[in-house]
Amino acid sequence: MARIIVCTLFAVVAATLSTGLALAKEVYNVVIVETLPVPIVTESRIEFEKELVRIMPDYDIKVTTYDAEGSELRATEILAELAKQPAPDLIVSVATLATRALNGSNHFLDVPKLFMAVSSPVEEGIVPAIGASSKRNITGESHVLDAKVKLDMLEGVLKASNPTTPLTIGLIHSTYPSSSSLVNQLLALNGTYKHINLVAINTPYLEGDEGLVAMTGNIVEKLQQRKSELDGYWLSSGPLAEANGLVAKVKERTGLFPLFAESISSVKEGALIGVVSEPVSIGKSAARKAKLILENSSAKDMPVGKMDTYTVAVNVSTAIKLQLPIPSNYLKLAKQHVYQ
């Protein structure tokens, strides 16, 4: 009798174990290295995680996130530590510095890698051109528009008020790689637009929150020095664009308004017009690429491209103040992003 009971118990345990094994989800280990916890980076990463879990419900997605604290060196260290551990299924880098470190690391050549929120993948040396694939098993998307498109849009806005002389616009930026790269692209087109005259105004990139505050101070100082020659300024993407209170401080000290910005928050704060990729779009788009990679598509074969979804935002209060009416087609495009 006892033998029967033992056998029965054994059978029940075995069946339970086998069922549990059968019901267990396949696990994917995803490592995310973000450059620094600024809104566009953090929000893009959060949206990525949510979207990946949503579109891969049959898998157990284990995400481990590392903060490089705005430092490429830190990102490199993180990756070196990761190399000592079992290789993850996918490594994701957010923003330029973390991506630069990941692309430069030789520890993970066999691990598929994905980047997001990088302005200039070509200038960063990831691929020779947009549309090309990387041999280092990495792919991703640039989240910013072509410089020409952005200038076209601003020209369209200025043209509506038909100013008699070109508006001199200060291109404020840090030496953060993506910022410099974008500004260089804009400056390359300077002089081709009737109503736009671009002037570069920069500050050295400084890591960390204190560095952001310092960069803000530097920029405000420089704008104050040159406010007489400026009609407004261009707030390019990069850490400086994420600095708290930059627009308000500039306005307070110089009376200048940003005429173009590459973040929604800047438009909310007073930029005349902005065209950006929202973190939601960036995260979702990256998640879809991650799914393909986890489902055995090779990152080597996936070309690096640009995002196909952008958001236009306008600030009508700034427009009224500057007597620069926003053309109706931009106003229509802005839809939910018309701010006052």
């Binding site: 007597q323 926003i326 229509k332």
Partner: protein, 633 residues
Amino acid sequence: MIYIPILLIGMAVTGYWAYLTAYDSVREREYQLLTQTLTLNVLEIINERRELLIESGLENVPVFRDAYQKEVFEELESLQQATNRHFAISDKSTETLVFSTMNAPVLLNVEGASIATIANRTVAFGESNVNDIDVLFACSEFNPWNWKVTVLQPAEPLQSSLFTIAWLTFLVTLFAVVIVSLLMGRVTQILVVSPIEKIKSAASRIAVDHKKVTIDLQQNDELGGLARDVEAMSGEIEQYVAQAQQANRAKTDFLAVMSHEIRTPLNGIQGLATLLLDTPLSDKQHQYASDLKSSASILATVINDVLDLSKIESGMSEVDVTEFDLNVMLKELVTLLGTNASSNNTRLVYTSKNLESVVVTSDITKLRQIIINLVSNAIKFTHKGTVSISAKLKKPSTETVSENRLVIAVKDSGIGIEPDRLEHIFDKFTQSDSSITREYGGTGLGLAIARQLAQLLGGDIKVASKVGEGSCFTVTANVQSRLNVESSAASCLVKKARDGGLPAGLKVLLAEDNAINAVVAQALLEQLNCVVEHVDNGLKAAARVEDGGIDVVFMDVHMPVMDGIEATKRIRKLNGDLGQTPVIGLTAEAFKERHVVFKASGMDDIVTKPVTVEALQESLVKLALEQEVADNK
């Protein structure tokens, strides 16, 4: 056929209706496009910006409103270039022009414009003249901005389209009319013309053949009925013609019988009267006998005239052409009729041209009859005057036979004919004056017969006359003529025969069943110095010839036991010279075709009763001449 013009008019009306429909349709479409452009494009462009301003809370911001109105103007300028329509915006209150794609001011006459509601907007549209250009317009108001918005387009493209439509409609209608006409022509050809041609052809065949015809028409319409009627009519015509021919044959037979039956006793009367005159008579008896002969002669003339006319009118008179010496024939006639002329104290003169040594080919009998008739008339109506006969051929003859025209004029110096009677003298039973009949006698058929005979010969008779001076009858006839190189020899023979007369003691067998006629004929032949032997039927005649010793036989055709025809055939079957014995038929049948039958049985010549000594002599001479010519050969 009445349906063809109705159909063509119908097609033309349909074409015009199609044009009007297309005209209205094109105009309506143009106005529809214009009003839609205004409401769905222009006003939407304006309203869209206003809505955008309201949504953005910028409606009352002048810089934005001005900028968006400027955008409207720019879009309308682009639209003007894309659509070739013009746009104008004016202030509704002040009528001030706010914007226009036209260089000149826009002053519209909107009186009489149509009003419609499109997309909840009231739109006025119509035609007007702007700066001397016809335009179509549509206008509406945009109250939020106090605007009056107008869309204009030149009417010229519309007019051009309508012109094109008019031409196309005309050409299509014309094409349709041509096609329908061709089709109807073809259908008419098949259904109407072709059947009519068949019926016409059948009618022509009926007219020629008088036979029943079958028309190949199966249709059951009016033409098919007409064809059946024509077929039925042709059957009846055939039947009537057969009946008419039968009746004509009966008439001919009757005439032949009557001719025979009348001539036979007449022959006896004439013959006996002639014989009686040769006997010793008192003067009174001689006068009676002479009158008797004259009366019989007149009666014979009347009978001959009636028979001739009957033959001519029934178409039985045929032209029997022979070659003869016209000059000789006319000279003989002059000799023959000269006696009558002398008794009337009238001189008969004959002249000719182109007739010497010429023989002509024509119907000598008819020609002789014509001349005798005309000359006899001339003599009859001429007292103590002259009757001249002049004959000529229009062309000189050659040795080869050629067509020629014979003209014989008989001119007298008699009483002449009244002009109003001239045109009737050739009518039957007509003389120029009824008193003439009483004074001169005659049936009034002579000239009618002469003219019809002349017409049978391809000519005619014309008359010219003057009362108190005389008349001239001119006969024409188509003949053939040639120079006669043998005429001298032949003439010698004829002359010899005529001059020398018949040999005396010619043994003649007379076969005649009628005793009186036999007596007359025998007496006449004896006057010609013939030795006459008489038998009363053909069987005896044949037997007598077989016995030999007969030089010539005068054979009556109709005899008991054996008729003359059968007897002649028997004679011709005799051996040797007996079978060649000349046989001259004696008959009261005057018709030529009967004479042909008699000659076919073997008779050498025919003498028609009542017999005269001249006729008997002429026949004997003719036989003698033929025999002599044959011997010479």
